[in-house]
């Protein structure tokens, strides 16, 4: 039993190590920011996830008691990683891609990241504020 657990834990650690390495390598290697975004978010999330599972297993089998800290870490990871990736992407769109270059929003919706003036070019310049 313990040997099997050891093998599983080792396997998980190695796999997550590989994911981490690939993710970091991708961050340097990939050219476009949008592509680069995938490397740390996906690969690293998986990598960290592997370590967390390995940790839970370890404490369950060798630590004598189940450990739930890892679940909290997972929760926060699932909350923060997508949100920050989303914002990096939004910032990139906002800074580098003009409104005309993206497809129009469907179902009467809007592109949130662009200002209303850009979104509906017909309204013209925003009025000058003078007081």
């Amino acid at each position: 039993m313990e040997t099997a657990a050891e093998i599983v834990i080792a396997l998980l650690l190695v796999v997550s190590g590989v994911f981490g390495l690939v993710g970091s390598y991708g961050l340097i290697k990939l050219s476009d920011p949008m592509m680069r975004l995938h490397a740390p978010t996906k690969a690293t999330t998986l990598g960290v996830g592997g370590v967390l599972i390995a940790s839970m297993l370890y404490f369950l089998v060798f630590g004598g008691a189940p450990s739930f800290h890892e679940l909290m870490i997972t929760l926060f990871l699932f909350l923060t990683a997508p949100v920050s990736a989303h914002f990096v992407a939004k910032a990139f769109l906002h800074r580098n891609i003009r409104r005309e270059e993206v497809v129009p929003a469907r179902h009467g919706s809007v592109w949130a990241g662009y200002s209303p003036a850009e979104d509906a070019p017909a309204t013209g310049e925003a009025d000058d504020r003078v007081e």
Binding site: K90, H94, V110, A112, R129
Partner: protein, 950 residues
């Protein structure tokens, strides 16, 4: 009544007039008078004991380590002065009630007056000279407020400033002198000092102490050449002049000389400095007084002259001269206060106090005339009035004083002074009240109401009583003078007729000469006006201006507004000091064995170095620099984790988050690039300085870390649980061992947050406001300020973050955490909401008052600290214990948690106030308020919410 309470009563009473003024001016005057009267009664209960020669004392230890005790005593001298201060104070309060007009803030006046009164009583009753010095400075400050009471008058403000500058300077010298005196005597208690005459006079430090103390006394008592401030202080309302500049404050210098008379007098230096200064002041003051046309200026210079007279008597150093000095202090206070009040009545009724525009008031103001005549004749030294008696005694003493071998110098000059004094006293009567009635007074004069002349009339009655029946006050004078001379009194009797003595001849010459001088006054005044005289105010202003210019030049050189300059000066100075002590001392390398470098800290170290160097390289791009600063902060918190300092790590991490968020918000309104402002040479210089300082600090840390340093840590570790009731040493240090530091720190934190608020307030009022109104953001703005994802995520995180905050707070005493960290965590939880949905939107939903939160925090911490007092322990002593609530386990309770609540609230309030301030700037720059939590809500038709308001 305890002497300490007598001194404290006016201070306590000072709180009342400002409140009672709402109930009317009579009520305000009444409470002021009540406080004074109470103190006076308390003082007089000790009169019998003091007359028997006893000394009443009261003592509290205050800062025994410094020799500073709140000790008071009443002896004859203290009784005399305290009686004068409180008694005349009572009359002045009555007089001021009718003098101060309805437009002036009377509550303020009485508050200042009582503050001053308390300070004066404090001076004369202090037993400890350090305490005396504190009261001495308080009189300077409170008299500054009183002289400048009419804030709208430039003369008032300038006069107040001059008085403060001169007496403040003297006070500084006095501090030096008193400290030397205390060092020689080995105690700061006057009663001890007064018994060490031989030790003090034989000490090498006697001369410096004497000079410094006399400098303080002379400036306060307006002795030549520091007499010039007193006439300028006459810009004050007349009650102030009558009180401060006749009876009390200017007598503080005399009091000091009289108080220290037993130990300082009797030497040649004392005689020549004090007696000569007094003599010169007496003659010069009288001479100037004769040619002043302003009634108050005349009285001011006559005061200078009489103060000179008393100083001279003290300077003679003989017991009989001291008796004369004490007697003249009483007499002068009585007639001069009354004279000032009559001058004020004339000014009040005729609307002028220019002698050239007055005259013939005899029939128009008969009561005032009678009072003024009695008191002025007393000042002139006419028989049957008290001024005559003390002047005779003065002339008697002068007549057998030898000055530098000359037998006639002092008597002749004293007679001249008396003669001039007669002349200006007669002038006050003749030129103001006698002569033909005029029809061009600025205002038709008549006698004032009873309330206004009651005070001076009482004093005039005293003048006559003492003048006719001096034996009535003889026991008092004997007791008062006995305190000055420390018991060594000659057998004397106060009486009218001493027989035909030299003093009588001198007196006769003075009266006749004075009258003759007045007859020739018109011609002499023209001569006086034509003669060149130094103008004291111009000289003073020149000196002050050049001193201010020099100070400004020096300050501007150090503080030119560039932070790099301050840092350079500070760090170079630190390196220089450290370098000198390093080269001067012996240095041996530390003996501790070095630890092996492990791989993980090495990586962290490398990251830190790289981040720091990158900041230097890219510091002009502010956003990038900020990100890198965040990296450095996170690395440092990881470092704390590595070396097992979880409290520090948590603090560092939370502080880092708050700092970065607030800086990001501020950067919104700042240029994103720092312009290049200095040349290559300057940058090289700054680089060298920075490197040297950095390497120096590193070397210092290395030196400390390579040796075993004994520190207080062992004590803290040992005492944490048993003494402080907590196993988290860091927290126990914060809330218990060093609780007072923490208390100070949260106050500083609160002040910093309030300063941010105040600065923002000032910004929004100034030219910056117009720039903000026309603000155009220099970066393109995103379409959704409040993105859906952020709103939803922070909403989900809020309860978790709050629970974490509470958890960290509660476990703080025993495990990593505590009020400070919890405050930051909760603040971050709030800040996230504000970032996600906008400040105004979030504030409308969690509206608590940030200023009040800060104040509440500090108050709770203070009250917790005060709680220890009720258990007879020092401030901030904490307590803890254990209770068991039946179904649960044993609980620990500790008072430290209440203190920690204070810390917590202050931190939350401060962070939120800083955020609110930044949001105010954004609002001024046109940031609109959204009415929906997010800008684009896909669940609603149309998506984009347009509901916004300015």
């Amino acid at each position: 009544m305890s002497p300490a309470l007598i001194a404290a009563l006016p201070f306590l009473g000072a709180l009342l007039p400002g409140l009672m003024i709402r109930a009317g001016r009579d009520a305000s005057a009444l409470v002021t008078g009540a406080a004074t009267l109470l103190a006076l009664i308390g003082l007089l209960t000790h009169l019998p004991a003091v007359m028997r020669g006893e000394v009443v004392t009261a003592q509290f230890t205050w800062l025994p380590a410094l020799g500073l005790n709140a000790s008071f005593f009443i002896d004859g001298l203290g009784m005399l002065f305290a009686g004068l201060i409180l008694g005349i104070g009572l009359l002045i309060i009555l007089y001021a009630r009718y003098y101060i007009s309805a437009q002036d803030p009377m509550g303020q006046f009485y508050t200042y007056l009582l503050l001053f009164q308390g300070a004066m009583v404090g001076i004369v009753l202090s037993d400890n000279i350090l305490l005396l010095l504190i009261f001495w400075e308080l009189t300077s400050l409170s008299s500054f407020l009183l002289i400048g009471y009419w804030k709208h008058l430039p003369e008032g403000r300038q006069g107040a400033r001059m008085a403060l500058a001169v007496t403040g300077m003297g006070g500084l010298a006095l501090i030096g002198g008193m400290l030397i005196l205390g060092e020689i005597a080995g105690s700061y208690e006057l009663t001890v000092i007064l018994e060490n005459r031989e030790a003090i006079q034989s000490s090498d430090l006697y001369m410096p102490a004497l000079l410094l103390i006399l400098l303080g006394a002379f400036t306060k008592s307006a002795q030549f050449p520091f007499h010039f401030w007193l006439p300028h202080a006459m810009a004050a309302p007349t009650p102030v002049s009558a009180y401060l500049h006749s009876a009390t404050m200017v007598k503080a210098g005399l009091f000091l000389m009289a108080r220290l008379w037993p130990v300082l007098s009797g030497t040649e230096a004392w005689f020549y400095i004090v007696a000569t200064t007094g003599l010169v002041t007496m003659v010069i003051g009288a001479l100037i007084a004769l040619f002043k046309d302003d009634l108050k200026a005349l009285l001011a210079f006559s005061t200078v002259s009489h103060l000179g007279l008393i100083t001279m008597l003290l300077g003679f150093g003989t017991p009989m001269a001291a008796v004369a000095a004490v007697f003249h202090i009483i007499n002068h206070a009585s007639f001069k206060a009354a004279l000032f009040m009559t001058a004020g009545i004339v000014d009040h009724e005729a609307h002028t106090r220019d002698i050239k525009r007055l005259g013939g008031l005899r029939r128009l103001m008969p009561v005032t005339f009678a009072i003024a005549t009695i008191t002025a004749l007393s000042m002139a030294g006419i028989p049957f009035l008290n001024g005559f008696l003390s002047k005779e005694m003065m002339l008697e003493e002068a007549s057998h004083t030898v000055w530098a071998g000359s037998h006639w110098a002092v008597p002749a000059l004293a007679t001249l002074g008396a003669l001039l004094s007669v002349a200006y006293s007669f002038r006050y009567i003749v030129h103001v009240f006698l002569g033909p009635e005029r029809d061009d007074y600025p205002h038709h004069p008549h006698d004032p109401g009873f309330g206004m002349w009651a005070g001076p009339a009482l004093l005039a009655a005293l003048v006559i009583v003492i003048g006719v029946a001096p034996w009535l006050v003889e026991p008092l004078v004997r007791s008062f003078a006995g305190a000055v001379t420390a018991g060594d009194l000659p057998d004397f009797h106060l009486k009218l007729w001493h027989g035909v003595t030299p003093a009588l001849y001198m007196s006769g010459i003075a009266v006749l000469g004075g009258a003759a001088l007045l007859l020739a006054h018109g011609g002499l005044a023209r001569l006086w006006q034509a003669a060149p005289r130094p103008e004291a105010k111009t000289i003073f202003d020149t000196v002050v201006d050049s001193a201010a210019r020099a100070a400004r030049a020096f300050t501007d050189a150090l503080h030119d507004g560039a932070i790099s300059r301050y840092l350079a000066i500070f760090t170079v100075a630190a390196v220089a000091v450290a370098g000198i002590s390093f080269l001067g001392g012996s240095f041996a390398a530390g003996g501790r064995a070095l630890l092996a470098v492990e791989i993980i800290p090495a990586i962290g170290w490398l990251l830190l170095v790289v981040a720091t160097l990158t900041i230097v390289a890219v510091h002009r791009r502010r956003l990038l620099a900020l990100v890198l600063m965040g990296v450095v902060g996170v690395m440092i918190s990881l470092g704390f984790v590595y070396i097992s300092a979880p409290d520090l790590a948590l603090t560092q991490l939370t502080v880092e988050v708050v700092t970065v968020i607030l800086l990001l918000l501020a950067l919104n309104f700042l240029p994103k690039e720092t312009p290049r402002e200095s040349g290559a040479a300057i940058r090289l210089r700054d680089g060298v300085i920075a490197s040297v300082v950095g390497l120096g600090a590193a070397a210092l840390i290395y030196a400390i870390m390579t040796r075993d340093v004994s520190s207080i840590s062992q004590f803290h570790l040992a005492q944490s649980y048993y003494g402080g009731g907590g196993t988290n040493v860091v927290n126990v240090i914060l809330v218990d061992f060093r609780g007072f530091d923490t208390f100070g720190e949260i106050i500083v934190l609160g002040i910093a947050a309030l300063s941010i608020f105040a600065l923002t307030e000032a910004l929004l009022g100034g030219p910056v406001s117009r720039r903000l109104v026309n603000w155009r953001y220099d970066m393109a703005r995103a379409g959704d300020r409040h993105p859906l994802m952020l709103v939803v995520a922070t909403r989900a995180l809020l309860p978790i973050a709050l629970v974490v905050g509470v958890f960290i707070f509660l476990r703080g005493h025993n495990q990593p955490g505590g009020g400070f960290i919890a405050g930051l965590v909760v603040a971050i939880a709030f800040v996230m909401q504000y970032m996600a949905s906008g400040f105004a939107w979030a504030q409308a939903r969690q509206n608590f008052h940030y200023h009040a939160t800060i104040a509440l925090g500090v108050l709770i911490a203070a009250l917790t600290g005060l709680g220890a007092w009720f258990n007879g322990r020092p401030f901030l002593t904490s307590d803890f214990g254990y209770i068991t609530i039946p179904p649960l386990n044993e609980f620990e309770w500790a008072t430290a948690i209440a203190f920690d609540v204070g810390v917590f609230l202050t931190v939350v309030g401060s962070v939120m106030l800083a955020l609110a301030s930044l949001s105010r700037i954004a609002r001024r720059a046109g940031e609109t308020v959204n009415l929906e939590p997010m800008d684009v809500d896909p669940s609603k038709p149309g998506g984009r919410s347009e509901r916004q308001e300015r």
